[in-house]
Amino acid sequence: MSNFLSSGDSPQSTAGRLQYQPLPRRLLLVCLGLGALLAAAFWLGLSQGSSGDFRETWSVLSGAAAPDSVAAAIIWQIRLPRVVLAAVVGATLALGGLVFQALLRNPLAEPYILGISGGSAIGAILAMLLGMSPFPGVTFSAFGGSMLTLLLLLGLAAGRLTSNRDYLLLGGVMLNAFCGAVIMFLISLGMSSEVRHILFWLMGDLSMFTTAQLPLLLAVVPSFILIFILARPLNLLLLGRESAAALGVNVRLVTNLLLVATSFMVSVVVCHAGLIGFVGLVIPHILRLLLGVEHRLLVPASLLGGASYLILCDLLARTLPLSGELPVGIVTALIGAPLFILLLWRAGR
């Protein structure tokens, strides 16, 4: 059967008339722009703090300073793991928010708000109280907790995903509240010395991280890759499950893969950095305003943007207070909540 679309004048002669920026070019621009931002944030994060300056940092990084100097120790042993952790956590949370918003077709969805982070925190606390090792004990206990919350959430909303998306969000908010109560209950059972540590960790604390733990963060990389591969089906899922299926997407498989991958990477991050909210709401929102809804752009953009954002938030957390430092979760909430309300207000006009 001949199709009128494939007949007529040659494709090459008229293709330019479609004013559609080719994706590879946009992808390159986005990666260059946000990559530069991340590099700048990384540099600031390494060089700023209670001591040191740009020149000292440069001499340490370039190898000019003695490797056993105090400045070198601060940068390599204290700041570097912390900045890397902030980058990985920020990237994961922003990407997690992006995926949940797309899957639930709700711009307010986020692992933290839906109780997925809370569920993994319960799992992590249980493992900590039982004295398990950070890996694999605490990590997989946290993953178990997040998957359990996720299954509960999906069970609550079973069959209602298409008819009423807000039902899922409400269910998630309630689950989150419930998880919060369970967490407080578990903490009240703990010894006083453990409790302070756990409380700080829960509020989103990046200061306990050491160089030796850095390889553990690699656990999130397979999730990143899987989500990037599934970015185009994710676009189609935004049209609704039936429209996506009618365009050739295996909706159930793609949805389940994305939910599991996202829950896993969020659990990993919760184990190392506690509960940090609003990154997954704010970063995808800003990026959608700038770039539109194409997820093949938004996935790498969220990774780079989220990483830069959390490094800068952590920098504020450790330089703003006159004495000591703030958990970074407090900074992201202080910035994120008002910004989010502003975004909502602008969208509602």
Binding site: S2, T14, L18, P24, A245, G292
Partner: protein, 261 residues
């Protein structure tokens, strides 16, 4: 080859039977309009034919059982045009139309020059090429409907299923959408199956009408065969007037007001 063959289709939803033993055969190049009262299973029949809901009975697309198709393979033969696109995350017009190429692309494969060209022609065909960079939430209902049709056209299907594409459009836009489908059918031999509430549009454009009543096939044939006063009154449960406008023109159908006469 028969485009769509449905035999003995039963469909249940929440334990309630929606479709009862529906039989339907559609040949290439037909323009079939499915009519019937609200809640009688028109949309369910459309979704069952597209493999979007599970149903008992046999469904064949282009001579092959529906269960034998993978999702992508089916999407290369059959396009579905929903009533309205969701607008929570508004894509641009060009992005939306290009999604019609999804069934032909591998996971990490990018749209090629030919895909862009097909999208451009589909937008030209439905008269929305000037809107390519606009976001869907900035468009009117009629423009959005033409975007969805362009996406279906870009999909290069043999069969297009439309669910009330003219609902909530003004008369001029209704005719525009129907003309587009008729043009597509004539120029490229695409088979068109459409659910519609508008009996007059159905009479004007449908070569063949299928009247569903209570989940069963009430009548199946030309507009003149299906649109009779007795059939319509029995199906819709209200008094109807059917008249031939100007001798040989399409039939006109009106409900008779219940409170008078």
């Amino acid at each position: 080859m028969t485009v769509l063959a449905v035999r003995g289709l039963n469909l249940f939803y929440d334990g309630r039977q929606i479709l009862h033993q529906v039989d339907l055969t559609v040949e290439p190049g037909e323009f079939l309009v499915i009519i019937g009262p609200n809640g009688t299973g028109k949309t369910s029949l459309l979704k069952a034919a597209a493999g979007l809901v599970k149903a008992e009975g046999e469904i064949e697309i282009l001579g092959k059982p529906l269960s034998g198709y993978g999702r992508r393979e089916l999407a290369q033969q059959l396009a579905v045009v929903p009533q309205q696109p969701p607008l929570d995350f508004p894509f641009t017009v060009a992005e939306t139309v290009l999604m019609g190429r999804a069934p032909y692309l591998g996971l990490l494969e990018l749209e090629k020059v030919r895909d862009l060209e097909l999208a451009r022609r589909a937008m030209e065909f439905t008269g929305i090429d000037h809107l390519a960079e606009r976001r869907l939430d900035e468009l009117s209902g009629g423009e959005r409907q033409r975007v969805l049709i362009a996406r279906a056209v870009c999909q290069e299907p043999r069969l297009i299923l439309l669910d009330e594409p003219t609902a909530s459009l003004d008369p001029a836009h209704q005719v525009k959408i129907m003309d587009l489908m008729e043009k597509l059918r004539r120029e490229s031999g695409v088979t068109v199956i459409m659910v519609s509430h508008d009996l007059n549009l159905a009479a004007m454009y449908g070569r063949r009408l299928l009247l569903l009543t209570g989940g069963r096939v009430g009548a199946d044939g030309s507009p003149a065969e299906v649109l009779t006063v007795s059939r319509l009154e029995a199906s819709y449960g209200c008094r109807m007037v059917v008249e031939q406008g100007d001798g040989s023109g399409p039939l006109r159908v009106f409900p008779r007001p219940g409170l008078r006469g």
